[in-house]
């Protein structure tokens, strides 16, 4: 009678899949029989026993044996059995050498963890597709401006009229949308604050295909002037509305107007790397019919979605054709204005791609050095076990088996090291992301996902193979006779060439890293030393934006800023103060300036200047020296002060003082008189050339966003509260957008260079440490192994200096070779860094000599310690000890 089997169905199924037909019945039957018996005593125990048996059957089922004659020897254990045996053996062996195991795991954890962290950065920034629907079809559209007017500029914003013409005429796009930043004063909570919202044209969200988490998109008819609706981000919903579920319909107070919330975007939409998605509030753009006709003012951003199957090149060609049509139709505004398309992804990553890949290369070098170091450690350990390996070989273990055993040990250490490294990367991810959030886009998307875990696993395996192969091969070639007899060759002399090669590799790789760190550090110093043309020290800057609802006239905004300046100038510790619309390094208005008496040229040929609106006191505060003419006075009106470059550009060799000009983009009627010439300043970037600047002043100013600069005799930060109070005495509801020293603004321009230099220096320091520890440990072993020889030499009359020289040369010889090879490699790699350095060549010979000297010094020190130990050996004790 056939009874029902009692084995769990899963166990039966697994065994059915894994066991050969010849054994299935017998093995499953035996398990079933014993399982029933054990279950009587304990269900839990029976299940535990059963599954341990099943797992072992799955790992190594009984072999399928053919009907071989009895005198044929069986083939031997399968590979998987031997590997499992090696794993068990390795666990025992490594557990018996905890110091060694921990040291190796620590070194590998450092190298693999750093690689995993860097890869997670690259994964988030470069590899992950943007979190939009079909992100490869999203593109940004720009003008290419006339190069005479805007030399070197490859992209420029669009004007509304041009956008609407492009939108109407282009056929290669699904949709196009226009958007523009809007500044508001947000009220309704504790204190008023300035907020940058995004005004979006009809169909923007539809184009991006971003569905709101709550509510809806804007309707097309809501893109009209005066529409007071808003869509908010998830973060804003939680902070401003406390995550209230009934937020739809509630008002957001912007410039004292109530904007009804109609939608809340999901967190996934808020990508900091793209201006459109990084905002907290979106409002309809609301162009008036007149706004839509503006063609000469380029201040709008455009995003578009290509039609399926249309390439960027095809769309580019079409847009160029449309731009040429518009040049003919509107020559006054459009002559010389071309078109270009940049994929959105490209725009986000192009600035950081080189830096990130350089970073990954650097961190890979650190891992290679760590592997060389670990290789040396594994080699020493293998040598210490020569006798054991020789016995195994004598008992029948072939070279392949010995090699496999040592490689499995190395792989186990590297996998554990990789796991620890991943843990370290995970723990430091939060802090690292916060540190680099300002310089690297998409930092908010960094995570240890499947791809990063896979990378870490592969790197762990590669590290194990790299570190373990040479020692494993070398151990397999152990001379059995020599290893087994007493008084055979000592550990120190065996495999010396292999260890020297590893030292050479470590030193060479360290030199490449040190050279990179060195040139980046020098570049940073050069940037810091650039003369910006003004004195940023002891200058405090305060930015405010006046809401249109309360400052609708020029008189009111003039009164505000004049009042604030008067109060601020009276504060103790303030030497001078002035206001400007855009501080250096904040960008600013670029306009045509038409000199009176000279014809207005076409837009393609008209030179442009950087135009800044200032008040008296600004130039003095920033210490921008007046070289001809005079500074502003409060009684002046409709005057300009030009920089030396602007004077040369517009008046040539003629002295511009007393001449007049107009800024047509602002007003063709208002004539401005030149009263002074000042020195040029750099305000585009420390590495950029000086610009042509024009500083204009009128007594009545319709300004809404201004920055106040004050020169202080005390540390600038100490005046923050006093300045805020001065502003609130004029208008208690006026938010202060940002207060910071001018030096902080200057530092922000080199934040990415500082970051790269800092990281590379950190890697170079780690590499130097690993290399010196490697040299030290190898030499210590050498000294230990050559004790007898040193004892004999000393007994025969060798002096301390002779012994020192013996050991130091042993350490310095591979160092010198490593420095030579590393130097060549560093020069070969210099091209990669060329775009990242300033004021110094990436293959600078002075830096190369300096880092080579540092490396040689460190190696010398690492060699001296064991050398001194050797020199202090008592020859009698040494010889007697043998």
């Amino acid at each position: 009678m056939k009874a029902a089997p009692e084995l769990p169905r899963l166990a039966t199924w697994l065994l059915g899949r894994r066991l050969p037909d010849a054994w299935r019945d017998f093995v499953a039957g035996d398990l079933d029989e014993e399982f029933r018996t054990r279950r009587v005593a304990s269900r839990l125990g029976a299940h535990a026993w059963l599954w341990s048996q099943v797992v072992r059957c799955l790992i190594a089922p009984p072999p399928v044996s053919s009907a071989a004659p009895a005198d044929v020897r069986p083939r031997g254990d399968s590979m998987i059995r031997t590997i499992l045996a090696d794993v068990r053996y390795a666990v025992r062996a490594l557990a018996h050498a905890p110091a060694f195991s921990l040291a190796v795991i620590a070194v590998l954890a450092l190298g693999i963890g750093a690689n995993a962290a860097t890869f997670s950065l690259i994964n988030a920034v470069l590899l992950k597709p943007l979190p939009f629907d079909e992100p490869d079809r999203l593109v940004r559209l720009y003008h290419i401006p006339p190069q005479v007017t805007f030399p070197g500029m490859k992209t420029f914003a669009l004007s509304p009229a041009n956008f609407y013409d492009w939108q109407a005429r282009a056929t290669t796009f699904d949709r196009m949308a226009i958007y523009q930043a809007r500044q508001f004063t947000l009220t309704g909570r504790d204190r008023a604050q300035t907020i940058i919202a995004m005004g979006v044209g009809a169909g923007t969200f539809d184009l991006v295909r971003a569905r709101p988490a709550l509510g809806r998109w804007f309707r097309d008819d809501e893109d009209a002037p005066g529409t007071r609706v808003a869509i908010i981000s998830d973060r804003f919903w939680r902070t401003y509305f406390g995550g209230a579920p009934d937020v739809l319909g509630k008002p957001v107070m912007l410039d004292d107007d109530a904007y009804a919330v109609v939608g809340v975007m999901p967190p996934a939409f808020s990508i900091q790397a793209w201006g459109l998605s990084s905002r907290d509030i979106w409002v309809p753009l609301g162009y008036t019919p007149e706004d839509r006709l503006v063609r000469g003012n380029h201040n709008a951003q455009v995003v578009a979605r290509l039609k399926p199957g249309v390439s960027v090149e095809t769309a580019q060609a079409e847009l160029e054709g449309i731009a040429r049509q518009l040049e003919v139709e509107y020559p006054a505004d459009n002559e010389g204005w071309g078109a270009t398309i940049i994929p959105l992804y490209e725009l986000i990553v192009q600035d950081v791609r080189t830096s990130l890949i350089t970073l990954l290369a650097a961190v890979s070098l650190v891992l290679l050095i760590a592997c060389a170091n670990v290789g040396n450690l594994l080699f020493s350990r293998a040598l210490a076990r020569r006798k054991e390996i020789a016995i195994r070989s004598a008992l029948g273990a072939g070279r392949r088996r010995v090699f496999q055993q040592l490689l499995v040990e190395a792989l186990m250490l590297s996998c554990v090291g990789g796991a620890v490294g991943l843990l370290l990367a995970h723990l430091t991810l939060g802090a690292t992301s916060a540190l680099i959030a300002n310089q690297i886009p998409r930092v908010d998307e960094i995570a240890l996902d499947g791809r990063v875990l896979g990378f870490a696993f592969v790197v762990s395996l590669v590290a194990g193979v790299l570190a373990g192969t040479m020692p494993a091969i070398r151990a397999g070639r152990t001379d059995l006779t020599d290893a087994l007899k007493e008084g055979g060759r000592s550990d120190a002399s065996v495999g010396l060439r292999t260890r020297r090669i590893l030292i050479v590799c470590e030193v060479a790789l360290s030199l490449v890293l040190l050279m990179g760190a060195g040139v980046l550090a020098r570049s940073l110093l050069a940037l810091r030393g650039v003369d910006v043309g003004f004195d940023p020290d002891h200058v405090l800057t305060v930015r405010t934006a006046l809401p249109a609802s309360r400052y609708s006239t020029a008189a009111r905004s003039t009164a505000f800023y004049d009042g604030v300046l008067a109060r601020v100038r009276a504060l103790p510790g303030v030497q001078s103060a002035g206001a400007v619309d855009d501080l250096p390094f904040e960008g600013g208005s670029v306009q045509y300036m038409v000199v009176d008496g000279k014809p207005e040229l076409s837009t393609r040929e008209q030179p442009t200047v950087q135009v800044r609106k200032i008040t008296p006191g600004y130039l003095e505060t920033m210490r921008i020296p007046v070289v001809r003419g005079r500074d502003l006075a409060a009684t002046d009106n409709d005057v300009v002060i030009v920089s030396e470059s602007a004077a040369r550009l517009l008046w040539g060799e003629v002295d511009p003082i007393g001449h007049t000009a107009t800024l047509p983009l602002q007003s063709r009627e208002r004539t401005l008189t030149v009263i002074g010439v000042v020195r040029d300043i750099r305000d585009d970037g420390l590495a950029e050339d000086v610009g042509a600047h024009v500083y204009e002043y009128s007594r009545e100013r319709d300004w809404r966003g201004m920055a106040i600069a004050l020169r202080t005799s005390v540390p600038p930060a100490t005046l923050t509260t006093a300045v805020e109070r001065a502003i609130h005495e004029i208008d208690p509801n006026q938010p202060v957008e940002r207060i910071q020293p001018m030096t902080a603004l200057v530092d922000q321009t080199i934040v990415s260079q500082r970051f790269s230099a800092m990281l590379l220096s950190l890697f170079a320091a780690v590499a130097l440490l690993l290399a010196s520890v490697g040299i030290y440990s190898v030499l210590s072993n050498v000294v230990r192994g050559r004790r007898r020889e040193i004892g004999i030499r000393t007994a025969l009359g060798a002096r301390t200096t002779d012994v020192l020289r013996l050991v130091v040369i042993e350490g310095m010889a591979p160092t010198i070779v490593g420095i030579a090879i590393g130097g060549v490699a560093a020069i070969a790699c210099a091209r990669v860094l060329e775009t990242m350095v300033f004021g110094v060549s990436a293959s600078d010979p002075l830096t190369l000599a300096a880092v080579a000297a540092v490396l040689a010094m460190v190696s010398l020190l690492a060699s001296l310690l064991p050398a001194l130990r050797a020199a202090r050996l008592d020859p009698l004790q040494t010889l007697r000890g043998d």
Binding site: F26, A28, D30, E33, E34, A60, S65
Partner: protein, 92 residues
């Protein structure tokens, strides 16, 4: 030898466990038995299905004369090597 003609996989496994406290896996038992059979030291035959095994068959093993001889040789070698060690190793 101890199990006579009732020496099949599960029984052998339990006998090893009872005498040596080693919890060997069933696949290791069959692998070893198969190897010994390939070397001509054992013979095997298949029994009838039984209800205690869910209707599955047993595979029985017994020593062949060559196997008995090999066992005897191994036993002699072991007892010779271990002679005199009972006191030192505290073996009972």
């Amino acid at each position: 030898m101890r199990l006579d003609d009732q020496a099949y996989g599960a029984a052998i496994r339990q006998e090893i466990h009872a005498r040596s406290r080693r919890n060997v896996s069933i696949n290791a038992v069959y692998t070893t038995l198969d190897r010994l059979e390939q070397k001509g030291l054992l013979r095997s035959w298949v029994g009838d299905p039984t209800p205690e095994r869910g209707g599955r068959r047993r595979k029985f093993y017994a020593l062949k004369p060559a196997g008995i001889a090999a066992l005897r040789q191994a036993y002699r070698a072991f007892t010779g090597m271990a002679d005199g060690f009972e006191d030192r190793l505290g073996a009972k």
